[in-house]
Symmetry: C2
Subunit: 198 residues, 2 copies
């Protein structure tokens, strides 16, 4: 049944069908760390601690259907590579920028988790006075570390001239900082930012 | 013909088919101002002046096909409302955040161009020490202005208690700043940021 507004226009439910959502499977594309970080950022936002958001997944839209009485439906689109990191925002007047990665490895963070554009972006952020780091989760042990982007940048450039293809966990532990985990907030990385950068 | 890498794996062209792209028609959803701002931000990035990007369009992905030999294809997705502004980044150590809007009106910027989440986000950015504004293009005259977010926030809150449904152009001219336009960069808004905020 079509419901009409007082002005005579039909009511169109703009929400996409919810029941299908559960089908989407991003198969280990880091959903757990991502979900925990989203909840952490939500906590920071609600408590008025910081304004940090995950950027939407970049998608190249090729075809869109405009059905008469429902929301526009994208029928053909493709994932694009991000040209920046996934997270950025504002904390205590400072620009914050980071990437989050999970690995099942117990000993290293493979550099193949990153791509050139992201590392170039991190270099730029650091050179323009932003705070830039990587949040790394070792899923086997559950440990999460904050590592300043300079280390990733160094390993990345060394890799190009035949260096290691990953960052050893020992370096991440030695040069980085373990992030306290809890219920609320889940991954309290701003306590580390306070200590290390501010 | 399938081409193989030296390691025996088939070469898969990850690029989506290009020829279809031209079909997409976002019918006056502000492409001109957006394109000009993207080129301006690209110019700032290449000249190492600032690191400012447009966020990807937020999309809720419902179904994805994973064909064997080509890129994952999104077959069902819907546009979502952005929970923040479209543009943010870093300039001379400062967090920058803005929204860009075009209007065909000659006399006002209708507030229906914004939504609650965006205005709330702008309030947060200002209260946490970020630089936050709106870039407004009057398409008929071609004029482009930078207006600090405080004016939008004020009009937005007044609208809720029965105030005007738009910001008069006279206010935008009086309280805002005309942005110089040229070939490179197209819309040199950072000259205004220098003058007004830094």
């Amino acid at each position: 049944m079509t419901i009409f507004y007082p002005n005579g226009k039909p009511y169109i439910n703009q929400s996409p069908p919810k029941k299908k959502t559960a089908k989407v499977n991003f198969a280990n594309r880091g959903m757990t760390l991502e979900e925990d970080l989203n909840m952490t950022n939500q906590y920071y936002l609600e408590r008025d601690i910081a304004v940090i958001h995950k950027k939407p997944t970049p998608v190249q839209i090729v075809n869109v259907d405009y059905p008469r009485r429902s929301a526009a439906k994208i029928t053909e689109a493709y994932f694009r590579k991000a040209s920046t990191t996934d997270y950025n925002g504002l904390y205590r007047g400072h620009y914050i920028d980071f990437e989050a990665k999970e690995t099942r490895s117990k000993t290293v963070l493979p550099l193949k988790n990153f791509h050139e554009h992201q590392v170039e972006h991190m270099k730029k952020v650091k050179s323009h006075g932003g705070i830039c780091f990587v949040i790394i989760k070792f899923t086997t042990s559950g440990e999460i570390f904050l590592l300043d982007a300079e280390h990733l940048i160094k390993y990345w450039s060394e890799q190009k001239s035949g260096g290691e293809k990953s960052i050893p966990k020992a370096i991440i532990k030695g040069q980085g900082y373990p992030i306290p985990q809890g219920y609320m907030p889940r991954i309290d990385y701003l306590t580390i930012v306070d200590r290390v950068y501010l």
